[in-house]
Amino acid sequence: MIELPKEVVAAFDDPDTIKVLTTTDEVGNPHTVFKYSMVVREDGQLAFLELLERSRTYKNMLRNHWFKKKVAVSIFNPKTGLAYQIKGYPTRCIIEGDEWVKFRADLWEQMPDIEPAALWHIGPEEVLDESVAGRFEEEKRRILQLEFWNIHQRRSKYIKG
């Protein structure tokens, strides 16, 4: 497990941040959903509440946990432009205890008629800066001549007048 950058941890607490979870089914088909409940726990793991028993995400999380397959979480804050992707393994499924009770209480404030299915933890293994500027800097290190051959990426320097 890795430690998430501070700006990523802070972004999870920002209500403007959009949080998206991608899991895969038994044949590798991706399944992507929004998870507003997702937070970073004190131990650095992600946690979210799965609302529906035997939903696609529920089953996929279980399979990905059993067979040690990674899931992906993408976050994007449209106000700041921050964009990151975190890949990690589902590490634990919980349906009792203090953390479960707190998540469920928060849910019931918004949706009192929903019986949540499970609280899942995800242990981050990779974190990627997915902002355009961040990705371009990364690709420049990997592909030596990227900037020179992508002439349109420096068009603003060339446009006359």
Binding site: R141, R142, L144, F148, W149, I151, H152, Y158, I159
Partner: protein
């Protein structure tokens, strides 16, 4: 020729579908599109009458860079047609069009309900294919009277130029045995339509200025050219510099790019010559070694052997990395020539593969990008006259895959890759650019 576990192989005697499916089953990690490209370049292309007629009806919709004399079956006379330079598959893989005799059982381009398809035989569709949209400079006549698309061919995000359509090795009968450049030029001259064997810097300047008016379309240009070996290639150097300066000036005057990205293939120069190319504005350069095996080499490219020699050719090519930098120098082979009849190539596919992959490993170890153009046995070449036959599909699949694996190992070792990024989606006659899309 021996392939598929030492069996005697003659392409014309093997069922195309059976061979394709057998190789696909043996290499499940190779994409079908890459295999289609390898096989299309090997077997060639034929056209349905409807497809050819569509090209003539709407010439501005296609890159009709080539003219051919075409004779329909059971007709008396050959007719002159214009055909595109290449087409695209669903993943934008560019596939070059090579006309091929029926004995090679070429693939067929068909027009069905206004869409183009690649078929094995009429109606036996393999996949839909696509052509580049119209280029703005198609049909434009430059101030010097030359059609702009005779100076700059277009394909995707790159324009392609051949400033000199004559190679000096032909003057002494020392042309590379797979090469048809002078035959092709003679054919194009006969067709007319503004074809010019040797373009001067003004032609090039005007052509590039016209092309770059299509704002945002072209990222770079690729040039290769016939060679002038006289005076230890000094005339060749001077002409190449003139061409580069003309392109650079056009890039600067038209869009303000300094220097406009150019990738130029030419004969290797000593270090001071390479430095002059760089100083003229060239940032990526490459040469063709043609074939790797030292015994086959002088037989395949006798001009290169006579006027420079293999050791010097390779030494200068590798030395160019000191001038242009890692990943800015490329060197290639004509893939398939390794299996030309002895003493030009190897009898067995395993020996040919081992030789070429050894050559690629050497280039990669020296930070040179390994490229390759798939061999076409064209009329007008010595190999054609000899009756040489195409190697098995297995050979091309394994060479391209092997080169990709070597590049992946390099990337793992150094943390960065060397790749011909200027060719990323626009190389119709080899698969190195297609594989580097997943590097």
């Amino acid at each position: 020729m021996k392939a598929y576990g030492g069996k005697e192989y003659v392409m014309q005697e093997m069922d195309p579908r059976e061979e394709f499916e057998m190789v696909a089953a043996a290499h499940p990690d190779v994409s079908q599109n890459i295999m289609i490209k390898e096989d299309v370049l090997r077997r060639g292309i034929d056209f349905s009458k409807e497809a050819v007629e569509e090209f003539q009806r709407n010439p501005k919709e296609y890159d009709l860079a080539m003219s051919i004399l075409f004779k329909w079956h059971q007709t008396e006379d050959a007719q002159q047609f214009s055909i595109p330079f290449h087409f695209h598959l669903s993943d934008w893989t560019a596939v070059g069009i090579r006309i091929s005799p029926s004995e090679n059982r070429p693939y067929l381009i068909e027009l069905i309900d206004d869409r183009f398809y690649l078929s094995r035989t009429p109606g036996d569709i393999l996949t839909e294919i696509y052509f580049d949209g119209p280029a703005q400079h198609a049909g434009v006549i430059l101030p010097n009277g030359i059609p702009a698309d005779k100076i700059c061919h277009f394909g995707g995000d790159q324009f392609y130029m051949v400033p000199m359509h004559h190679c000096g090795y032909w003057n002494t009968g020392d042309q590379c045995r797979f090469c048809d450049i002078d035959y092709f030029a003679k054919h194009m001259m006969k067709m007319g339509r503004g074809f010019k064997t040797r373009q001067n810097p003004e032609d090039i300047y005007l052509g590039v200025c016209e092309v770059l008016k299509d704002e945002g379309r072209y990222k770079d240009c690729f040039c290769n050219s016939g060679t002038d070996p006289r005076n230890d290639f000094k005339r060749d150097l001077e002409y190449t510099i003139e061409c580069i300066e003309a392109i650079v000036k056009a890039g600067k005057d038209t869009i303000g790019a300094d220097p406009f990205p150019i990738y130029f293939l030419s004969a290797p120069q000593p270090r001071d010559g390479m430095q002059r190319l760089y100083d003229a504005g060239l940032r990526s350069w490459g040469s063709y070694i043609e074939t790797w095996d030292e015994n086959n080499w002088p037989n395949v490219c006798p001009g290169k052997a006579r006027f420079m020699g293999r050791e010097e050719w390779i030494k200068r090519t590798v030395g160019a990395v000191d001038v242009f930098g890692k990943g800015n120098v490329a060197a290639g082979f004509v893939i398939g020539v390794e299996m030309a009849p002895p003493p030009y190539g190897f009898e067995d596919v395993e020996d040919a593969l081992a030789s070429t992959l050894e050559g690629y490993a050497f280039l990669i170890d020296n930070h040179v990008i390994p490229i390759g153009t798939q061999w076409a046995i064209e009329p007008g070449t010595d190999f054609y006259k000899m009756g040489a036959k195409q190697p098995p599909l297995e050979f091309f699949v394994r060479v391209d895959r092997g080169r990709y694996q070597l590049l992946k190992e390099y990337q793992k070792q150094y943390g960065f890759g060397i790749s011909a990024d200027y060719m990323s989606k626009s190389q119709p006659f080899g698969c190195y650019a297609d594989y580097q899309r997943i590097l």
